[in-house]
């Protein structure tokens, strides 16, 4: 067969096979359990939060304001402040407290996203991980995959729920409820892509003292802490005193 003819037929074959595969390949860019492409959100931004533990007094204003803003059922939390008592092993008289605000880390590699079987949870282009709760089937797979216990099945909606950095407020130029209400100014939110933003400046200034939770989990969290002791980087090794709310769900 003529070489150019063979070449032409080859091309046609490739094109026709390609055309049948195109719709599939566009959705299968990610291998099993790989991160799918980000969508929606504010283009060009990368939202992140810095929590200055030296300023947190454990007043739970953030917990309350988040619950009011986002109408979370009683006993469930998008954010909260865990409290610990730390006793010095060498000097038992010396006891200090640690207030640890916890929320979704809006990881750069969020393990909760690829597991979702209906793409209800996804990462926006601005880094915020959100849930389309009209699509969510409430399978709870993302709740299992999150390494921070930041997700839960909302008892009212029966769908997955979590902190969204109050993306609805950010889009309107407002601060997240927890940041707005923090009496000590411990929570700072900002755009990492802006070198002159307060968060970028603080991260640069305190570079040596910045920590994230479970740094080795490979999730690249985007909630940073100043003043977090080494002992709290990973799963807390200590005495538990879990609190179970007795209140009825309203």
């Amino acid at each position: 067969m003529d070489k150019s003819k063979r070449h032409f037929l080859n091309k046609v074959a490739t094109l026709s096979v390609g055309a049948t595969i195109v719709p599939l390949s566009s959705i299968s860019q990610a291998g099993i359990n790989d991160q799918p492409p980000r969508r929606n959100g504010q283009i060009g931004k990368r939202w992140a939060m810095l929590v200055d533990l030296r300023r947190c007094i454990g007043c739970q204003s953030c917990t309350v304001s988040c619950t009011i803003e986002n109408q979370i059922p009683i006993g469930q939390f998008r954010t909260r402040v865990d409290q610990y008592e730390v006793q010095d092993s060498e000097n038992p008289e010396s006891i200090t407290s640690l207030m640890l605000p916890r929320l979704c880390n809006h990881c750069d590699k969020p393990p909760c996203v690829p597991v979702c079987p209906v793409q209800a949870t996804y990462q926006q282009k601005d880094g915020i991980v959100v849930i389309d709760n009209e699509r969510c089937v409430g399978c709870g797979y993302c709740v299992q995959a999150c390494p921070y216990d930041a997700r839960f099945i909302n008892k009212k909606t029966n769908t997955a729920d979590k902190c969204t950095f109050c993306t609805h407020r950010l889009e309107s130029g407002l601060l997240p409820a927890c940041v707005e209400s923090c009496v000590g100014g411990a929570r700072i939110i900002g755009d990492l892509n802006q070198a002159d933003s307060q968060i970028s400046q603080l991260l640069k200034e305190h570079k040596k003292d910045i920590k994230v939770l479970k740094p080795k989990a490979g999730t690249h969290p985007h909630v940073f802490y100043i003043g977090l002791d080494q002992a709290f980087k990973n799963r807390v090794n200590g005495q538990s005193a879990v609190w179970k709310p007795k209140a009825e769900i309203i």
């Binding site: 299968s28 990610a30 291998g31 099993i32 359990n33 790989d34 799918p36 454990g58 006993g75 939390f77 402040v81 865990d82 409290q83 610990y84 008592e85 730390v86 006793q87 092993s89 407290s97 916890r102 393990p111 690829p114 597991v115 979702c116 079987p117 209906v118 793409q119 209800a120 699509r135 969510c136 089937v137 409430g138 399978c139 709870g140 797979y141 709740v143 299992q144 995959a145 999150c146 390494p147 921070y148 216990d149 839960f152 099945i153 029966n158 769908t159 479970k214 989990a217 002992a231 799963r235 807390v236 090794n237 200590g238 005495q239 538990s240 005193a241 879990v242 609190w243 179970k244 709310p245």
Partner: protein, 360 residues
């Protein structure tokens, strides 16, 4: 020393329904394997095993997905699985193959029963009406039996792969994040399948050869499951992986130690009693079922009581309602109902030409 002063108790999200799904679907897909000696390799002495395993495969393939549907918190939205197919999620892959497997297992048992259905044609009463309706023509479909068995087997293995992988990729849970999880699910499912088939074979008056064969399977499958446990411990002591982290949790939880002790004890019962008298064999089968159920309960329910970040363990009490005891009674009731319906209304014991042919 660190003491947690204030941290909430977080509830589990994969409820006992998930345990029931993994229990029934695992048993169903491994029961396919038990039917193969008679169907694929024409072993006449295995026909009784195939009959019992076929009932187990069929009923568990129906009950499993019902339990799964009950476990998702928005069951009416199950169609979202098909409207938004997600090839990178193991659960989505499972959602595609699960209905295919269920249909294949229904078709497999139908083809297996066809000769008997044709012979029973024309009978009266409920059974007659049922067989007449199911006969659908006068073709025997003998030639289809082996290919359908192989297709059902392949689909079953895909379900085994997805159920195991779905759990094993969850790196945030030490107990789940192990390559041994799919293997352990598989061996304990085999144990459950042989045990349940043994129970069904006993209740449906299969001959002693069948009971002895199933007893032998149960013996080896419980040894295999114990073997996987031993490998898990070897890994836990010799590596720094998820198994080692789970071992550290095990050392801190009396509940986990008790679970493990029961698991080993029942596995031993199942192994030791499987060669005894018919009553002891039954005890072996019941122990095998306990192992199959308990291992999944331990992995899912107790596995979810480990805080991802906080100290100690969360609490779990079995609720009495549909999310707990009542739900589980219901799902076992459903299994019993379907087993009775499938056994009573279909001609399992009918000596058909195909079955005779296989025998000779």
């Amino acid at each position: 020393m660190i003491t947690e002063i204030l941290a909430p108790d977080i509830e589990i999200v994969w409820l006992p329904w998930a345990v029931a799904y993994f229990f029934f679907i695992g048993i169903s897909l491994t029961a396919v394997i038990l039917t193969l000696p008679a169907i694929l390799f024409n072993q006449k002495q295995s026909l009784g095993v195939a009959r019992a395993a076929m009932i187990v495969m069929l009923v568990c393939a129906i009950v499993g997905p019902v339990a799964l549907l009950a476990d998702i918190h928005q069951p009416a939205r199950f169609w979202h699985f098909y409207a938004h197919i997600t090839p990178w999620s193991w659960m989505s892959i499972g959602a595609i193959f699960l209905p295919l497997y269920v249909v294949a297992s229904l078709f497999y048992s139908w083809i297996f029963l066809r000769p008997a259905l044709l012979e029973s044609k024309g009978k009266t009463g409920i059974t007659g009406a049922m067989t007449n309706a199911l006969a659908m023509g006068s073709w025997e479909g003998k030639r289809l039996l082996k290919p359908v068995a192989i297709i059902t087997l392949i689909l079953g293995m895909i379900i085994a792969l997805y159920t195991g992988s779905e759990v094993a990729i969850v790196t945030s849970r030490e107990l789940w994040s192990s390559y041994l999880i799919p293997v352990f699910f598989f061996t304990t499912a085999l144990l459950g399948a042989s045990s349940l088939s043994l129970l069904i074979a006993y209740l449906t008056h299969e001959d002693n050869i069948t009971l002895t064969n199933l007893g032998r399977y149960t013996h080896w499958f419980s040894l295999l499951s114990l073997g996987v446990l031993v490998v898990w411990f070897v890994l836990a002591f010799s590596t720094n992986g998820a198994e080692a982290k789970s071992l550290a949790l095990l050392q801190h939880s009396a509940q986990w130690q008790f679970n493990l002790l029961l698991l080993v004890l029942f596995s031993l019962f199942s192994t030791l009693f499987s060669n005894g008298s018919s009553k002891l064999i039954l005890l072996s089968a019941l122990s095998g079922l306990v192992v199959s159920w308990m291992s999944r309960w331990f992995i899912f329910i107790d596995g979810q009581t480990v805080p991802k970040y906080g100290a100690g363990f969360y609490t779990y009490e079995l609720p009495l309602g549909t999310e707990g005891l009542l739900g589980m009674l219901g799902v076992f009731g459903l299994w019993l109902f379907f087993t009775i319906v499938v056994y009573e209304l279909l001609p399992w014991t009918h000596k058909t030409e195909t079955q005779e042919e296989v025998k000779s």
